[in-house]
Symmetry: D2
Subunit: 388 residues, 4 copies
């Protein structure tokens, strides 16, 4: 039998990190659709992230993207965040938006460009020292578009060298979250295309290097929850970038495309004892939804993850393990589906009410007038980020 | 036995259309890498296309993209093209780069936006009247990102209405090339996602509507040459957009990712008697390669298509049909592979020499000094198109 | 607002056809795992199907597979079915399990084998005359394994000829359900690989030819509900073969792999007014689950379809259409998801109770002793079908 | 410049291992098509393998499959092989064709079945001691069909335990080749689904455990040559199972579906210095082509690999590395393609002539009368293997 009080406690303790860049404009290669009221400065992004936390109660940190969120004084930025009720989370590097990186950053055939890219990684760790961030998220767009364009193996050597240099610079309480991605923007070979590559590099680097799973970065048909279970077994799962996709890296709202998959992922987290913040996994959103309003879309994503988590917590694990041990395929599947088919919105409404929050965060946000306020106030200026 | 003289005649008669936009900058959603010397005006794009024709001898037309290639006087533009040794080919519509089209163009829930988009289609036909173009290429980025976002069926009704209105406006010698695409920029449902949808609309519209196959627009595992063979049988294949891909719509150089697939496609064309320009298929390039130099990449794409075609022409069809009729799986496959495994570059060199061209167009282009000239001359100005 | 009484009436009226072959042993190419108690004769399969109907109340017909279910007297078989409380549904042809069909059946290069295969189609219609079946389901495994093995276009001509001959033999109240499948057992090109091919043939044949969608037969990433919506618009959707898959044609229990997709499919059915049996769509199961007990797996599949249907019926369509018309992406998606996230099991329990059934069919089946009975009684004998 | 004599030496030294089971009947789940003259005993399979070596000169070893090739006296079998001019190669385990393995072998929830499966692994090593085989190939079909069916993590623990026990039993000159596969026969989660999982287990086990790449076992879009390059860098690539596929694990003739991919794979082998037998990679065929004659299909597969290898050896690596270092995307790609586009059949004909072989092995096999001989002689009897 499931202990409902324990489920509620776990849900109340859950933490989801929001990404500063998801509050700004974004788009596809065909068009970036600008929205009214989007933030123009790191402070405005943090303010929006704080609003998400205010209405959900589970999103107290916001990840920054360098240089999009570059400021002169990171301690002051941290103070600002604190005043808004949130804290600065992971620092994300960006070595893909400079003309120099056309053929790669840390794996570029040009040693000077590799130096520049590696220096950016070191700079990001300097920033972490100031923000007090634990996590450095590393995503490299590096790869090649054509067979023969560059040497696959030399690029791994270059990658390792840059990672090692940055790793050696990490402080005692800092770590890597090393992302992988099948393709895009590289169209033939990506230098870290799959979890295996990220894992092998992390093992070589040491215990401060962990794998980050972006749920949109896999080949069609990949069983993501298997990767979750496997990395937990190996002690190498550091973070998630949640979003959802039907085709490629669509970067839609988490839980929108395949809520059953999200549930299966969260079940492995719960089963592996890795939900609690003390375990150390950073559950981040990483989305670039282009056509819907930013803040309510992020709120919706948080709710979707919460609902998947609630269902995962409701799985009757005693019954499940018993059916599994007996080889009762239908019963084991039925136990899992019983939790999935449960409507968990009432439970989450109670968790929110217990925390003094409105049980319906979307409705509360709409009623708050915040959207109208930012549309009115944020006129002029320019975004650092995806442009438009 | 293959008649080598006939093969050479067929190769000399082959025609490939280049796209004006492929000469300009392009990129992914992450970054558009600007190149030196890229054209800033429709005239400069046409000049570059003319260079491709000058060195290959088989690319005498260039497709335009409206509004990227909008000019006041299309007859004058046509005269300019003629003076450069080429002609204006297909007119491409663009109903995806305006803020109004965030939720769709001709399938938008808003009737006013649908009107605007449909008017653009009509305007493109007006332009065709001036350029003397036969082909109107229609690609709609229309679709939705989330289940429920809009009604799948109503969008088809709206699509049909717009297509019908434009179809009725076509002149006697004008026709539709109706493109389809699995996804991107729409991430859940695209309004014309596959050849079946395009085909069904074309059948409803009438004989002036034909399907355009973009080789990068299919689900993983799709057998494109089957679609070619099937549409030829139905008399509904109007055009190709050639490019290549490993993952999604990567828009790499034609023939770069899967030269064997390109050969199989061209074999179906040859076998269906559809290679000769008199058959009416428009063999276009449609590429957006981001990191390599534009003109030599397009020359290379033309050569790749020529090589695939030469191999297809070399297939010993008598031997093939006999092995097929006898159910000799290994021999039939061997006959096809025998042609594929042949090095056809010497034959093509002869075809070029016979036409008074340099047998090696890439080398000839490099030696011509054209690249240095445009880098020196084309300074300042701005591109209409993908930006940067 | 949703009319709950109308929802219940629609659920009570829903009809799902079970396949005789799914009650027998099945497997992969690696192994067929035999189960105890599986039926050995058409009558035993019908008896099992009748049990599924007895406990679910919505599965009153059973599809036959010829020659697996060949009997001397089909009228007697129909009488037997009637005595068990069910009726014979669609007749399925089998032109893939004879040595002659190694290189194809109706598309075989050998005219004699084509004749034999076509005769089998005609024989199946003769059987329909005796069973009173309306539907002839046609699945052709025909295709080729290697490029060049056979001529893609000639195979279409042969396919058309066979279909036309069988079509002309159809009685006034009989029709075709023409299936398509991406691959397997053909590994390079399948003769009807996608809905477009099936649709084009059906249009050529006439109104008695309709498309059958097998939910496991698509390329990765295919949006099946789009095909549903499109075929409904064209009036050419005749049937479903429900099952589920993670990778290829896995033939798992319907609704097991992607319950959200099944919901989206059923929503298009409901939205298109095509749920009621009077519309004419044959909602069939077509599964070959290998490792779990047969009858409870089929009951579970029926329940999964019922649950997806209940959720689809619960969609607040007024609210949905309004949000769609207003371009409110988040709200439109939220309205759809609100229905999906509802736990519909209580509603279905009421529908069953109203019909005098046990509200929990799986539990009721387990309690019935039927499984123990067939295990005890069905000893010896041999199956026609998948073997083992 | 390429040293042609060195290329020929490398081609003459190349070794490809054939699989005993590929000479027997095989099929899909729909049908196993029996062929005349297929071998009925391990000796007959070895005889056929010896014929492949006789005509190609590069296939001197044959892999066995236990229990399909079980004999009382393996030393005698080895003597027989020797008398035919070949030797016994890798030993393949089979823990998927027993009813006990329905829910898994070494990962089965039942400890007794795990014991049985592990004992089979140990037995295979006993056989290796007798045959003198270096390589134990491990493929586990283990996995689950439904979410919840079994615990993903416990299955890894069980897998590790069995692997460790067998690993500890390996002799000094023996090693593991640990295969991975995305799916089939498991349809939801496979216990070793990708190279990362195999790699991680191999690293845990030690240096005698290496990864085996089956070219048909990946998710759509996977870049296999990247995996080759990466595993070579890590020193963990032990073997290939060559075959080809368009969709899933189609098991077609190597090089038939994507000859360009095979070339890219062989280029990484050549570039990594891993072609020579002394490096230790076992280049095996693992195919189950169902419709074409067995022996000539295997000869054809060997030729396809030889041709891909010859092209890989012809790559002008100095020119390639220079273009790569200079970031000349087009030139680097052109250098690689120049080798690919070369017709290498004349070179291979010379290599064969130099070795005293017929330059055209397929023609020589046809002329040899062997096929007619085995059809006449091999009447009656039964195969162990895929059945039929």
């Amino acid at each position: 039998m499931t202990d409902l009080a324990a489920v509620k406690r776990a849900l109340a303790a859950q933490r989801i990190e929001t990404p500063s860049w998801a509050f700004g404009n974004s788009g596809t290669r065909f068009k970036v659709f600008a929205q009214e009221g989007v933030p123009r400065t790191p402070e405005e992004k943090i303010a929006d992230a704080a609003v998400v936390h205010r209405f959900t109660g589970v999103a107290p940190t916001v990840a920054l993207h360098i240089p999009w969120d570059k400021v002169d004084d990171y301690r002051a930025l941290g103070e600002y965040a604190k005043s808004e009720g949130v804290a600065i989370g992971a620092i994300n590097t960006n070595v893909f938006q400079d003309n120099d990186y056309k053929l790669g950053s840390v794996t570029n055939p040009d040693a000077g460009i590799r130096r520049k890219a590696t220096d950016h990684l070191l700079e990001a760790i300097d920033i972490m020292d100031q923000t007090g961030s634990r996590d450095l998220k590393l995503w490299f767009s590096d790869g090649i578009n054509y067979p023969g364009q560059d040497d696959l193996r030399l690029r791994q050597d270059r990658l390792h060298a840059a990672l090692q240099e940055a790793y050696d610079r990490l402080g005692d309480d800092q770590r890597f979250l090393l992302e992988y991605k099948l393709f895009e923007p590289a169209f033939y070979a990506t230098d870290i295309p799959d979890w295996g590559t990220s894992y092998a590099h992390c093992v070589e680097l040491g215990e401060k290097a962990t794998v980050c799973i972006d749920t949109g970065h896999h080949a069609p048909g990949t069983n993501i929850e298997f990767i979750v279970a496997f990395l937990l077994r190996q002690g190498k799962l550091g973070a998630f970038d949640f979003n959802s996709r039907f085709y490629a890296d669509d970067d839609l709202m988490a839980g929108a495309a395949d809520p059953f998959q999200l549930f299966r992922i969260m079940y492995e987290i719960v089963r592996g004892g890795a939900l609690d913040p003390s375990y150390g996994i950073n559950f981040m959103l990483d989305q670039c939804h282009n056509i819907e309003a930013k803040i309510p879309a992020i709120i919706r994503s948080v709710l979707n993850i919460q609902e998947a988590t609630a269902k995962a917590l409701l799985v009757d694990r005693d019954a499940l393990f018993q059916a599994q041990a007996e080889g009762d395929v239908l019963e084991a599947n039925a136990v899992l589906m019983d939790a999935y088919n449960t409507d968990v919105r009432p439970i989450l409404a109670e968790v929110r009410a217990d925390a003094g929050l409105d049980p319906d965060p979307v409705r509360a946000y709409k009623a708050s007038g915040y959207q109208e306020k930012i549309v009115a106030e944020r006129v002029g200026g320019e975004q650092a980020g995806w442009g438009a």
